[in-house]
């Protein structure tokens, strides 16, 4: 019977950690009764699951393996594009399938590299400003990301976020199976997560803020009192216009 690590709890909430993995203490002052939910992809960074997966695949162990993984990803990229519009959960699952058989050690190291070399310098300045503003407004900052924990924990530490929710890979005997543990973040379940989180932390959603960029995040934005579409895709732009939500463009 294989052992599955990182069995996800029904509430897939992690605490922000520093690069060494130490859990950052949550400032009780900041744990106010309102939250600022940031859908990371599109609002804080411009890289999604496919970019991360491509980076991991291109640095797999051995040249043959790299070529095979990159080839598979390249073939699947158009499918990913299509799925992103209709079923982003499935698209995210498909993207991370490229990490199958990769060691947990390699994933951890590559996540550090990916964050340092690719993501860190691609954090939107306006995104950072929004996070700082949220803190000044005494919101609890929560990141929602389709990326994997090893990457998001670094971003959360960088932005001093209070909490994050993200995807976790399934590992069997130290190797990734290529599957994501449920629930997969990135699809239409953002709204359910926000409601659950609010219930657990006594958050007043009517005073809370939400920032997101994709049509899949409609429910997330609908759950908060002050939604904001950031660099929206076609579907979210249309919905924002209909609902008269503010739209921010800084990509």
């Amino acid at each position: 019977m294989p052992t599955i690590k990182n069995t996800i709890e029904p509430k897939s909430i992690g605490s922000a950690t520093d690069p060494k993995g130490n859990v950052l203490a949550v400032d009780p002052e900041r744990a106010s009764r309102s939250c600022a939910f940031f859908r990371v992809e599109g609002t804080l960074i411009d890289r999604g699951a496919l970019a991360a997966s491509a980076y991991f695949a291109s640095n797999a162990q051995g040249f043959t393996e790299r070529a095979f993984r990159i080839g598979a990803l390249a073939l699947g990229a158009p499918l990913y594009g299509l799925l992103s519009q209709s079923d982003r959960t499935l698209a995210t699952r498909a993207a991370y399938a490229a990490l199958r058989h990769m060691s947990e050690d390699r994933v951890g190291e590559l996540a550090d590299e990916y964050y340092e070399d690719v993501l860190k310098e691609r954090i939107y300045e306006r995104g950072r400003e929004l996070v700082k503003q949220a803190k000044r407004d005494k919101h609890r900052v929560v990141l929602v990301s389709e990326s994997i924990e090893q990457v998001v924990s670094r971003l959360a530490a960088e932005l001093s976020a209070d909490d994050y929710v993200c995807n976790r890979l399934e590992y069997v005997r130290g190797e990734a199976t290529g599957k994501l543990l449920d629930p997969v973040v990135g699809g239409h379940d953002g709204g359910a997560f926000v409601k659950r989180y609010a219930a657990e932390h006594a958050i007043d959603l009517t005073r809370s803020v939400g920032y997101a960029a994709y049509g899949a995040d409609l429910l997330l934005l609908s759950s908060v009192g002050r939604p904001c579409a950031v660099n929206p895709d076609f579907a979210l732009r249309a919905a924002a216009r209909d609902a008269e939500w503010p739209v921010l463009e800084y990509r």
Partner: protein, 588 residues
Amino acid sequence: MTEPLSIHKALAGRHILFTGASGFLGKVWLTMMLDQVPDVGRIYVLLRGKKNQNARARFEQMVNDSYAFSGLHEKHGEAFSRFLAERVEVVPGDVSQPGLGVEPELAERIQRQLDLLVHCAGQVDFNPELHEGLETNLEGTIHAAEFAAKAPDAGFVQVSTCFVAGNREGRIMEEALPNYAPRDWGAGGYAPSGKPFDVEAEYLHLKQLVRQVDEDLNSDAAIAQLRQEVAEGIAAKGHDPSNHALIDRILKREHKARLADRLVQVGKDRAAEWGWPNVYTFTKSMGESMLLSRFPRLRKTFFRPAIIESAQSFPLPGWNEGLNTSGPLVYFAGTWFRHLPARKDKPLDVVPVDYCCAALIAAGAALVEGRARAVYQCATSDRHPLTVGRGLELTSLAHRKYYRNHGEDAIERILLSRWDGRVVGDDHFMRVDNLRKVAQWLADVAKDAPQGLPTKWRAELKKLSSKSDRVDRKLGLVDKVIDTYKPFVSSNRQTFSCEELVGLQTAESFFHYEPKKLDWRRYWIDQHVPGLRRWSFPLIEGTKVEVYSPKFPVRLPELLAPGFGGSTRVTETNKRRARTAQASGAAE
């Protein structure tokens, strides 16, 4: 439930004789004792003087030059000399000599006060010349045990190795069996002579073997034969075969080399016959058997570490010295060599030196308190295994990290950083002997370039030939390393139980052994491989290893006053010891 053992209480005011302080493990043990158990009575450090350096001067140089002591230097500054003088007494001696080669009066003084003897000295080359292995690992152990047995009530810790188990598979328990030999144990039969292993008989046999080799190679006929071969060799190279001075010089060198080779080979063959992978484990195991048979009344414990490697944090992260087991393998995995013939799922039983020393101190304290078990195995394979496959993956990732940030050129930063090592089977087409064949073929082809080729081409081919020769020599070295380390990465899928050590609960968490505390990824990538790069790789590359330079070098007093070098701190303990010694009379 037994109360946790307080290391500080158990060792406060206790007097310990320690052998092997100049080794990798020994230095860390000593620094850890001085740093973590400063209330210890007296540590007698047995050290052999060198040709132009007495034991005290050698000790001072060790303390001043080695980074292992840097933390203590920084902590105590100018007062470090005094701090050391109050706790450490350097004892000139040699484990290969009866009575440890200690002056009788000094020996008697030490024995009167001795609480514990930690015998850590050993010949750690896997395949030394047989007589060297016997002198240090077997006779040295006997001498040390005899020394401890003469003390009124001293415990004896024998630092051995998990690999005394030899060529066996499966879980190895923490037990010491008299007259143990792996072949007897595994097959249930007797080998190689049809008689069961008897350590005393084997010891005599090995001594006889050494004498035999010596006589064979020093016989008139053998010398004459060798002289003839040397003369022919000289003639073949175009030198004067009647140049007696040259012949004598080469003869002397050749004779020494052949004698050494034979003494290594007979030891290896004999070890293999009984089921040990090398002379080191063979002689270490014989040392254990001898202790069991010759010293039944001596209070003792066998402390068996697995593969001791870089420190996780003490005395400093990544601290290493010399070439330990993983050093050469890790080094080659950072070159263009990629394919390691090994068993991917075999546990690579590495234990950081600071984990090992903390456990060794705890085992000694348990012995002093009368709570020690017969055997403690200090290993990771049973509770928190690292496999060879994972070890190589972590090694690749560590090299990747280094080359990406510190690569000398684009090839290193971009290509070598991504040149990951792989575990392959013995029959892989990229195995070392196949690569050597290619290199040799290339060298031969380039050497025999047709005369009709343009001069420029011939010059290039000559360069290629010598380059191929160099590659072949390097691959030869790799082959030798792989062969030496085969027992650790390929043969014998063993896990070593460490239940006794984990079960030894200590009041101070620092000394409690729990391999599960180790984060392999962080240890390997952030401490172990960088440590090897700093302390061990220079030895492989033939460059200089860093030497510490303290602000206040240690100078110990020339002569220590009888007793405890004038230390008032331990006077009461001294008196108590003296009274006990008088009352108890002679030792075992």
